[in-house]
């Protein structure tokens, strides 16, 4: 990521959430870019294009040979009317034509195979490349961007849009070439024979072609409408089944069915309209095609009678119609694939061209961890797109030293979580700086920074893999003993051991479902496994009960002896033992000091303590008695 180009670099923070859906249907630049990607596979594309040309050429030979065979069978080309010599010459000629016909058919088949295979291979290679690029890009884009986009939208891009781009080579590029060869070549051959007959035979091409294109685009619109409706229906069904207890609890089945029916009926109406459109267009195309055939028979027949063309030439014209029928119907399909590739490619490139706002500086070096001292120096922060005075944090300074614990507390929205995010450099500070062992975290590589700090998030994400995999997520090379030790610290080991497959038990739908507290404990185990120097607990024990939390704290004591710890919590018992407590309000530190000092001060902290002591009176009492 070379830092400072002037040309229109789009950084992910500058793109708003409704980014770039309005890609126009046919964007030549996008299509060109995809085509260029295809031609990067030079050899395969060359083979595919040559094969397409050959396949078309050989296919053009077939009707000509058929026509010739008809004439030969009638003895016209053999010259004389009858006679044994002429007859055997005619039979020889027929044999030659038959062999040529067979040869042309085999050649056409082989070249078509080559064309299709190489076309698809190039498409698949492009798909593979795009998939990797897309995956990597998503990994590198900042969390603030990920927060703003819909996951479903990202999935659509990664699945359907890649598919749309991939098909472009085959259905867009190669098929256009084939169609041009067939129609162009066919027209030349037929026109040379007899212009009028040729026009009759080809009369269906423009009509069917245009009809097919219009129908395709209309079908596409109804398809999109249907998809929208179906995804609505899916949502309704999914929520109903997921919330079946609520539905039953309020006896809302009738209401739910009515809701379902309303959407389902609309969907059915669209689906029926789609069927009607489809039926209309296909039957009309067949109709026009057969009418053209009747016309050809009439015009050609009249000419045969008049002696202007031979019967063989009439047969040839009819045979041409036979081979042109399918490709012409596919014109609509091609037009669709052009539109699709353009839209899909546009949507895909929109993401691929984004620059992550958080990335390594050009001269970034790996972090040199010496003591593990984290400092916030007059840090100010606001979200990238926010207005100037919309500050989340203002003038926040503190120092976290190894073996010491900083507690951060404050009302919702006071900026607590933001501090955790800043430590891992998921956002950049707007003012001031954050250093780790004296190095500004913006000047070191992200990889080394994130290896040095471990953040236990508020809502842990568990992967659909075994519990062991989940614990080892941050350090996949960890040994078994280390993994178990981490789980022990998080007070989760004995629970895991009790599961039927212990650490190999799957997490999620088909495996165990963990409670909120267990998930948080797993997330703690995950965070202490890698050897990080700074640990940030971001409200990560909210669902863990106080007694278990205390045991976790005790278990971690040894571990945190040489590490800096930041605990963000709203339950004061989680952080009252901290060496320094920061009380945040409106993004500023309004009080700081030890628990005792703050209690004496009698300010916001003391008030909060009173509040909590009252609502969890029992808990407080028990705490004292132990």
């Amino acid at each position: 990521m070379s830092g400072s180009q002037q040309h229109s670099r789009r950084v992910d923070t500058q793109v708003d959430a409704q980014y770039g859906i309005d890609v126009s249907r046919l964007d030549a630049a996008v299509l060109w870019r995809i085509t260029a990607m295809a031609f990067r596979h030079r050899l395969r594309m060359a083979v595919a294009v040559v094969a397409t040309l050959c396949a078309g050429g050989f296919q053009l030979l077939v009707p000509q040979y058929l026509g010739r065979a008809v004439d030969q069978a009638r003895g016209l080309l053999a010259g004389a009317a009858a006679g044994e010599v002429a007859r055997s010459a005619a039979e020889d000629a027929l044999l030659t034509t038959a062999l040529l016909l067979l040869g042309a058919a085999i050649a056409r088949g082989s070249f078509t195979m080559l064309q299709n295979y190489q076309g698809e291979a190039v498409g698949q290679l492009i798909g593979y490349r795009l998939r990797l690029d897309y995956y990597r890009k998503l990994q590198s884009l900042s969390l603030s961007w990920h927060d703003r986009v819909h996951t479903g939208d990202l999935m659509t891009r990664g699945i359907l849009d890649i598919e749309g781009v991939r098909l472009w080579v085959d259905t867009g590029v190669l098929r256009s070439i084939l169609l041009t060869v067939l129609i162009g070549g066919g027209a030349v051959v037929l026109l040379r024979n007899d212009p009028v007959l040729a026009l009759a035979a080809l009369s269906f091409v423009p009509i069917v072609g245009i009809r097919a294109s219009i129908a395709r685009l209309k079908l596409r619109d109804t398809w999109i409408a249907l998809q929208d409706q179906m995804s609505l229906l899916t949502k309704v069904m999914e929520e109903n089944l997921g919330g079946i207890r609520v539905v039953r609890a309020f006896a809302a089945q009738a209401h739910e069915l009515a809701r379902y029916d309303a959407i389902s009926d609309t969907a059915l109406a669209i689906a029926s309209r789609r069927v009607r459109l489809f039926v209309l267009s296909t039957t009309q195309m067949t109709f026009v095609y057969f009418l053209a055939m009747a016309l050809t028979l009439w015009v050609g027949g009249t000419k045969v009678v008049a002696g202007e063309v031979t019967l063989g030439q009439l047969a040839e014209a009819l045979a041409f119609m036979l081979i042109l029928q399918m490709p012409v119907r596919q014109i609509g399909w091609m037009i669709n694939s052009i539109a699709r590739a353009s839209t899909c490619g546009g949507r895909l490139f929109n993401v691929l061209d984004l620059e992550p706002s958080i990335s390594d500086a050009p001269d970034a070096r790996p972090l040199q961890v010496t003591d593990g001292v984290l400092r916030f120096e007059n840090v100010g922060f606001r979200y990238p797109a926010a207005a100037r005075d919309d500050r989340i944090l203002e003038d926040v300074s503190f120092e976290a030293r190894p073996g010491k614990m900083i507690g951060i507390v404050g009302p919702p929205g006071s900026g607590k979580t933001t501090i955790a995010q800043l430590v891992g450099r998921f956002y950049d500070v707007a003012e001031g700086r954050i250093t780790l062992d004296g190095q500004d975290i913006r000047g070191v590589t992200l990889k080394s920074l994130r290896a040095a700090v471990s953040i236990v998030p508020q809502e842990p994400f568990l992967f659909t893999a075994s519990i062991g995999h989940n614990v080892a997520y941050g350090d996949p090379w960890a040994g078994r003993t280390d993994i178990e030790k981490s789980a022990q610290m998080a007070q989760l080991h004995s629970y895991i051991k009790g599961l039927p497959q212990a650490y190999q038990t799957l997490v999620g739908e088909r495996g165990v479902s963990l409670s909120g507290g267990q998930r948080q404990r797993l997330s703690i185990a995950r965070a202490v496994l890698p050897d990080a120097k700074v640990l940030v607990f971001d409200d990560s024990t909210a669902a863990v009960d106080a007694a278990t939390e205390r045991r976790i704290r005790e278990a971690l004591r040894e571990f945190t002896r040489d590490r800096a710890v930041i605990v963000i919590a709203h339950r004061l018992s989680s952080l009252m033992h901290a060496d320094e407590i920061l009380f945040l309000e409106g993004g500023r530190i309004v009080e700081r000091g030890s628990h005792d000092a703050l209690m004496q001060q009698g300010g916001r902290y003391a008030q909060l303590y009173e509040l909590q002591a009252r609502s969890v009176a029992g808990e407080g009492a028990g705490e004292g008695s132990r």
């Binding site: 040979y65 039979e91 027929l94 034509t97 067979l102 058919a105 085999i106 056409r108 078509t112 698809e120 698949q124 995956y135 990597r136 990994q139 969390l143 069904m237 999914e238 929520e239 079946i244 609890a249 309020f250 006896a251 809302a252 209401h255 379902y260 689906a271 029926s272 039926v279 039957t283 055939m293 009747a294 009439w298 027949g301 009249t302 019967l311 919702p412 998921f426 994130r450 842990p460 994400f461 992967f463 075994s466 062991g468 997520y473 090379w477 993994i483 650490y503 799957l506 909120g516 890698p530 007694a547 709203h570 339950r571 909060l608 509040l611 909590q612 029992g618 028990g622 705490e623 132990r626």
Partner: protein, 640 residues
């Protein structure tokens, strides 16, 4: 079906540390879901039971289907006759010397007539078949969905939503595809036999010679199909594996970045993407290898017609028009054969899908309204359990002989360790399940003697995890009582203290809750679910208190809202918070499905039983207490 590839992983620590120290071992890492796909994709090609059930759904459309079949036959006949007309025109109007323009015009007229008929039949065919298939798809899905609304919760409990969804979608589509294709398959079959018959009747010898390529093609297809199908399935599985890994990258991005897994994951993803690439290339080879084979056979058939037919024409044993007709027919041989062999896979898929669909529609409804069920307008709000025994699995009761009474207006807290039967108790009040023995009475009536709808009206439930629908805030609050006015909704929201934050949402009460209220905090979701229960205005409230901690400010609001909600109602509360437990009129302590203590907080503490011991252990919720501690408490050696 096994997961497509397990290469770069050593699944678990059990095998972990054994790796050599020297070179870097494979990481203990995977991307994408590790859950195997369980469902069979293909079944038997013909399953009479499935077909029979399927026909029931077809019955309403039988006239349309008959029409469709007739249309298909007509369509096929017209297609078949076109080369014959061309042949007749050539032989009778154009053959040597006999140029007859009138006759030619007659044939062209017939041609146009046949084309018109073809058009009509085609139209009718596509319209009836596709529309019926479409209707059927919606019918099947609705039948399944409607059935799921009434089947017992015990079925829903053990079936994952994802699995039901795949039946409601994928399986239904498989049946639609089957229906659409099977009628066209009839057409193909008729066309194939029609061509054979016409070709043989035109000229037996030439026909026989030409048709000799057909068995060859059939043979090739039969060998090819199972191999190709394997390749196609491998490609499909590889695709879903790649997409699953991508989904994980999208949903878990925060954890991935926080834990620095980008590099490892990318390498694993690359392996998956590469597998996918290769699987698709192989599948493509299988698809495309058929092209030259079919073309060669078509070419052979044409060559046979040219050589054999041509020489027969030369010796005047065959009309030239017949030869032309043959050349036309040869081009049409192969389409029906191709689609017919594909039909076999479609049928297999449809049978497997049908099996799964009808499994759902056949799930027995265990909890049904009795024929003479009452629908009382008002009840007094008393709840009583009389010697109730109940369980989910035969032989394993979770409640044993439980009896208690809740007087109208009383608040009773249910407490006890996880698995003690609290949730089952509340579920029985609403008759989500039927008891094995004993009786549950609501308002003095056995719950089996009244309609389920009346229970729904008189009992409001608040679940532990507030479940909101992706609808507006207002619709969510009104959910329990659709007829409630906006004023009712606002009054309820005000009463529970939700009004203020709702007004701060972008569109107030009309704000759409995205993804079930993901844009609200947990505390806010809870308040909305309280408001929902308040709008229901039921005599009886069943509440499963949330366990998760929220910040102290919200906590206070929730406690206040709860007090408002309990006012003037009979309440059965699965309580986790001490504040709630102590505020209850009475506490019932459950353990292992038995009621072991009952009374007020102070009395129970004084009595020094399980409750007192658990209370002194000072856990925020009894659910969190580790098993060994409970065992100790039960034995009477709890915390002192």
């Amino acid at each position: 079906m096994s997961a497509p590839e397990k290469t770069p992983t050593a699944p678990h620590p059990e095998q972990g540390p054994g790796h050599a120290m020297g070179e870097r071992p494979a990481p203990l890492a995977v991307v994408g879901s590790q859950v195997d796909q369980e469902e069979e994709l293909f079944g038997r090609a013909f399953d009479p039971w499935v077909v029979k059930r399927f026909l029931e759904y077809l019955r309403p459309y039988r006239r349309r289907i008959a029409l469709g079949v007739a249309a298909v036959l007509t369509f096929t006949a017209t297609q078949l006759s076109i080369p014959l007309i061309v042949r007749a025109a050539i032989d009778h109007a154009l053959a040597e010397g006999a140029g007859d323009l009138d006759l030619l015009q007659l044939f062209v007229g017939v041609f146009v007539g046949v084309v018109a008929l073809n058009y009509a039949a085609n139209h009718l065919m596509e319209a009836t078949v596709s529309r019926t298939a479409q209707n059927l798809l919606f019918d099947l899905r609705r039948a399944m969905y409607a059935h799921l609304q009434v089947v017992s919760l015990s079925f829903m409990d053990k079936t994952e939503v994802g699995r039901l969804m795949s039946r409601l979608q994928g399986d239904v589509y498989a049946l639609q595809e089957f229906l659409e294709s099977s009628i066209f398959a009839i057409g193909d079959l008729v066309l194939l036999f029609g061509i054979v018959a016409v070709v043989l009747s035109l000229d037996t010898v030439l026909g026989g010679l030409t048709l000799s390529v057909v068995p060859l093609l059939l043979l090739v297809r039969i060998v090819w199909l199972p191999l190709a199908r394997k390749a196609f399935m491998a490609a499909r599985e590889a695709s879903s594996a790649v997409n699953g890994a991508l989904a994980e990258n999208v949903h878990g991005i925060r954890a991935i970045q926080e834990l620095g897994r980008e590099e490892v994951n990318f390498r694993l993803f690359d392996a998956k993407a590469r597998t996918n690439l290769n699987a698709h290339l192989l599948a493509s080879k299988f698809t495309n290898v058929m092209i030259p084979i079919v073309d060669t056979l078509t070419g052979s058939a044409m060559a046979i017609v040219v050589v054999a037919g041509g020489s027969m024409v030369l010796s005047d044993r065959l009309d030239i028009g017949v030869m032309v007709a043959f050349l036309f027919y040869v081009q049409r041989f192969f389409d029906p054969i191709r689609s017919l062999t594909l039909q076999y896979s479609i049928m297999q898929r449809a049978m497997a899908a049908g099996q799964r669909i009808f499994e759902v529609t056949d799930v027995e409804i265990e909890v049904k309204d009795a024929p003479d069920a009452e629908d009382p307008a008002g009840i007094d709000g008393a709840v009583e359990f009389r010697n109730v025994t109940f369980g989910y699995v035969p032989g394993h009761p979770v409640l044993h002989d439980v009896s208690f009474k809740v007087a109208p207006g009383e608040t009773v807290a249910l407490v006890g360790p996880t698995g003690s039967g609290k949730t089952s108790t509340t579920a029985l009040v609403h008759r989500f399940y039927d008891v094995w023995d004993g009786q549950v009475l609501v308002g003095g009536r056995d719950v089996r003697a009244v309609t389920q709808a009346s229970l729904g009206r008189h009992i409001a439930m608040v679940l532990q995890e507030p479940f909101l629908f992706s609808d507006t805030v207002e619709a969510n609050i009104r959910y329990a009582h659709v007829a409630a006015t906006r004023a009712d909704v606002e009054a309820a929201a005000k009463a529970v203290g939700a009004h203020d934050f709702i007004l701060k949402l972008p569109q107030g009460y009309d704000t759409m809750l995205e993804q079930r209220g993901a844009n609200l905090s947990l505390g806010q979701r809870q308040l909305i679910s309280f408001a929902r229960a308040l709008v229901a205005d039921a005599r009886i409230l069943v509440l499963d208190e949330a366990t998760a901690n929220v910040d102290s400010y919200t906590e206070l609001e929730i406690q206040r809202a709860l007090a408002r909600l309990l006012q003037g109602r009979t309440a059965l509360v699965i309580a986790h918070r001490l504040a709630t437990i102590r505020g209850a009129d009475r506490i019932i302590v459950l353990q292992d499905g038995r009621k072991i203590e009952e009374g007020r907080h102070d009395a129970l503490v004084a009595a020094g039983g399980l409750y007192a011991r658990l209370y002194r252990m000072n856990y925020a919720s009894f659910d969190d207490i580790p098993d060994e501690e409970i065992a100790k408490a039960t034995r009477g050696e709890g915390a002192t």
